[in-house]
């Protein structure tokens, strides 16, 4: 058998992908259920000449990776709900200062300490709106290890392309479960490298002046261009500015560079949607249960389909709208009280046809849980 096949936890699949993508600096703080990512990288990174540091808390961890990104490195941190809450302040900074970085949130039950060892998908809205102020964010998720690998690569690529933090919203179930992972050969998956400015030393370099294609070439700290990076509203030089025109342009730029590319950033999978009467919309671990039900019901001739979202933010409303257009009912399957269901409702002309199958008790949603809701939708009673 090929040595490229591994049997690993989802957290390890994320580590393999991050290294494949060129990660060479990680800062983190231990927290269940993401700790394996830090443990593995503390070994793997120095083996590849990279750096790992365990910081004093999660906030320090995200600050450290932002600092390391500015010297030209591909960076990542990993955490879970409470740590992700702590990171929100610096997440806003990375958005504002346009620093490429990847933040993994292996979700567990919350709020607060919640239930550390049990899965949840309760951080969808924290990923979107956890930090203050108007902004856009990219958040990706995955339901199996091959996709954890693929989405982790995507996260690094999107972070570099759009000079922005990207959040990987995994969950305890996928993070801790073991299954097959086929490692791609080097070069098999496209990687986006840091876009560095071609402006020579001594010539004016504007760190916050987008090129025609919207991208902002960077210059590494330590290089020939010295510039200012700040969380304040700033001009194209990176200097603080209270000019209303500068402020307006900056916030529009930060939002538009992502929201205007919603369709381009949409990653999803579809199963049996062509003639589906009931479309399930799900993501992350919950999509595994949903797919299980869809396949079983298809075998019995029932017209069920699944739209599995991998990009959660910016929310792919056009895709959801298109894929659910013909459905008589839409069933959102998720491990929270309807965080994505609300977005699906907003995307559809008939929000009244959207239903929710969920669990919020730390127990992974079972096919039986989903079937119960299906029976209600199909008018078969409980």
């Amino acid at each position: 058998m090929s040595t490229q096949v591994k049997f690993v936890q989802g957290n390890e699949a994320c580590v393999e992908a991050a290294l494949y993508a060129g990660l060479d600096f990680f800062a983190g703080y231990p927290i269940t259920p993401s700790t394996e990512i830090a443990e593995l990288l503390s070994r793997r990174l120095p083996m590849a000449g990279g750096k790992f540091i365990q910081m004093e808390d999660e906030l320090a961890s995200i600050c450290a990776i932002i600092g390391a990104s500015l010297t030209g490195h591909k960076v990542m941190t990993a955490t879970s709900g409470p740590g992700f809450s702590l990171m929100q302040e610096a997440l806003g900074y990375a958005i504002m200062a346009e620093i490429p970085c990847v933040i993994v949130d292996v979700q567990r039950g919350g709020p607060s300490t919640g239930i550390p060892t049990h899965g949840s998908q309760g951080d969808i809205m924290q990923a979107r709106w956890g930090t203050h102020g108007d902004h856009a964010i990219i958040a990706l998720t995955a339901s199996n290890h091959q996709d954890v690998f693929a989405m982790t690569i995507e996260a690094f690529n999107m972070a570099e392309t759009y000079r922005t933090p990207v959040i990987l919203l995994f969950d305890e179930i996928v993070g801790h479960m073991r299954e097959k992972l086929v490692l791609p050969e080097p070069g098999e998956m496209p990687l986006v490298e840091r876009l560095r400015t071609s402006v020579q030393g001594g010539v004016n370099y504007h760190p916050y002046l987008p090129r025609e294609d919207g991208r902002l070439p960077m210059s590494d700290f330590g290089g020939v261009h010295r510039y200012n990076v700040t969380g304040l509203y700033h001009d194209m030089w990176g200097f603080p500015s209270a000019d209303p025109g500068v402020a307006h342009g900056l916030i529009r730029h930060l939002v538009d560079k992502i929201e205007n590319r919603t369709n381009q950033l949409a990653r999803y999978k579809e199963y049996f949607l062509e003639d589906a009467e009931i479309v399930m919309v799900s993501y992350g671990s919950a999509a595994r249960s949903a797919l299980h039900v869809v396949k079983n019901r298809r075998n019995r001739g029932e017209r069920l389909g699944l739209l599995e979202l991998q990009t959660l933010w910016p929310f792919p409303r056009d895709i959801v709208r298109e894929k659910c257009a013909q459905a008589e009912a839409v069933l959102v399957v998720e491990l929270n009280m309807g965080q994505v269901m609300q977005e699906v409702k907003k995307a559809l002309d008939h929000p009244e046809k959207v239903f929710l199958a969920n669990r919020i008790d730390g127990v992974f949603i079972t096919p039986t849980d989903i079937r119960k809701i299906l029976r209600l939708i199909q008018g078969k009673g409980v």
Binding site: M1, V5, K6, F7, I115, P116, T117, H118, I173, H176, M177, R178, E179, K180, R288, S289, L291, H292, K295, G362, F364, T366, P367, T368
Partner: protein, 181 residues
Amino acid sequence: MERMRMVFTGSGGQGVITAAIILAEAAVIHEGLNATQSQAYGAAARGGSTRSDIIISDEEINFPKVIQPNMLVCLTQESYNSFAPIIRPGGLLLTDSRFVKQERKVDAWQVELPMYKAVMDEIGKPIVFNICMLGAVVALTELVQPDSIMAVLKKRIPSGFVEMNQKALDLGITMGAPHKR
């Protein structure tokens, strides 16, 4: 092949979870099958039991948890009491005769083997009890080749321990084989 849904239970330190990982990894890496392995944290601490779920199939596995196992392994009385009722009717229930007295009547093919005793008599090291159990599982189910288990073990353990593990695996196979249905 028919999808195999298994639950290994016991108490912390018996190597139940390790055994589950080794079996599933052998199926994936050396037999070209699909497998998932997951374990209950926290919840399984109720009653002091550990539990690991394994699904092995030649098809894609979506839902990774086991609700009703085709095969249930219980290495303590407590885990037997807790989990025996979840076995799929007609499923295979393997217990160790030193630790578990099969009391309840379940609709299952019940196999009691003196695995712990054999390990202590023949090898004298309780650490390979779980590998002996794996040997019995392999013999009873023929899910994977014993060589596949050994190939996984060789990557995980220092070379000095390979022989002891091989012996434990063989012990389990010898004990399990006559009970194969």
